[in-house]
Symmetry: C2
Amino acid sequence: MLVNGQSSETISVQDRGLLYGDGVFETILCEGGRPVLLAGHSQRLENGCKRLNLPRQDLPTILSDIRQVAGDDDCIVKVIITRGAGARGYKYSQNNNSTRIVYRDEIANFPIEYYTQGIQLTQCEHKLAENGALSGIKHLNRLDQVLARNEWDDEYQEGVMLDNRGNVVEGTMSNIFIEKNQQWITPKLDHAGVAGVMRQWIMRNSYHADMECLEESISLSDLQTADALFVCNSVIGIWPVASFAGKDYSVSDATKIVMSHIHDNLSKFYLV
Amino acid sequence: MLVNGQSSETISVQDRGLLYGDGVFETILCEGGRPVLLAGHSQRLENGCKRLNLPRQDLPTILSDIRQVAGDDDCIVKVIITRGAGARGYKYSQNNNSTRIVYRDEIANFPIEYYTQGIQLTQCEHKLAENGALSGIKHLNRLDQVLARNEWDDEYQEGVMLDNRGNVVEGTMSNIFIEKNQQWITPKLDHAGVAGVMRQWIMRNSYHADMECLEESISLSDLQTADALFVCNSVIGIWPVASFAGKDYSVSDATKIVMSHIHDNLSKFYLV
């Protein structure tokens, strides 16, 4: 584990990342030490720092930290940037340092059936509130996701989160796509949600599966009338949805194509 | 500084308090080592743990920690309870330990004019979203307050935060009361906001100033037509508002009475 480039497993109890969730993070799959989707992660981190007025980060330094903790291994690397320790209170100083935390976790091993047959999806009771100033950013205020994910145990693999108006936003740890009439549609994230790196990659590469991909408002009934559904993130890749709200879905041909594509082009850990 | 009762200035970088803001906190004024408004702080902490399904805390242990860090001194003690370190992901284990952090800060010395003449109040652009599951709790997801407080520097002492519907909720670090027709009205906090310990104390003790106190929805125009305004929290006590949105307010007699009352009964640090 590295904290500001130095070997450490701890941070100050006065770090604003702890006190206020004042920071951003990325969770990056590394295959043989190579960070997968690095450009997307870097861009989102940089954008998040800009939106929260965090000090601009030196991306080569972060990459060097990632390489140091990952070595040549398959692993998950977490990068956290906080506003560091400062005076008490919400006001921050413009010359606050930031804290850069980089550490590795074990690679996640998910059952092959999640990829081949799909997952059980549920609907979370807990709603996401509209907060345009924070939408899209992967910030450290994640109590919404904690509350939503803990509504169930292991009977489902993911849960759909709605906003206060009833629109579908995302999963607790993933983005969601619906397939309908040879189109993929994923919720717009202008007022809530995290702009996933895998989501972005799929939107840009949907043409490989001969699919058009749109960002639109999606309702629960859109999910129920979809031809197919999948969820995605940069650690799991793509999980097709096998069932949601009493309806069974099969894995569409287009989903299979894009799953093969991310397996062949991004990482073998994105199973097909 | 104490972490789980042991002397330490750091916590694990894998603590969920840092990773997700998964925890609650209290900021307690101590006068000569005595925690002021302890019952209110304890109740809110206990209630917050219950609402977030955090392990139940042993209040005598927390009080013992507070006494240890405060000694016989005047200081501010911060108590943070997090869900501790656990496996990666939003799902938590029911047998997760919690992390208990207790440390002290210097006493805050505010200009006497904030009490005698009142403060300059502004209106924050950043809005609070509706989130009934988290309303009232003093949890660690405080990016809304960080963004709002950093809209200005030192030209104001506090800013009013509205919800997405335009209702007044609170200040960035305080609750707000308006005075009108011999009544105090403070916003209901059923869908956003922190249920302040000083707010609660004032509501219960308003009769000492011959005032009725109500919780209601408050709009910006209610602020502008009020006879007087004040903000409060358990560190500052009560700050009357001298000006807001181009209007000047004077310190009402009822405000002076309740300020004297908290000074005489709670702490000499609540200036009059």
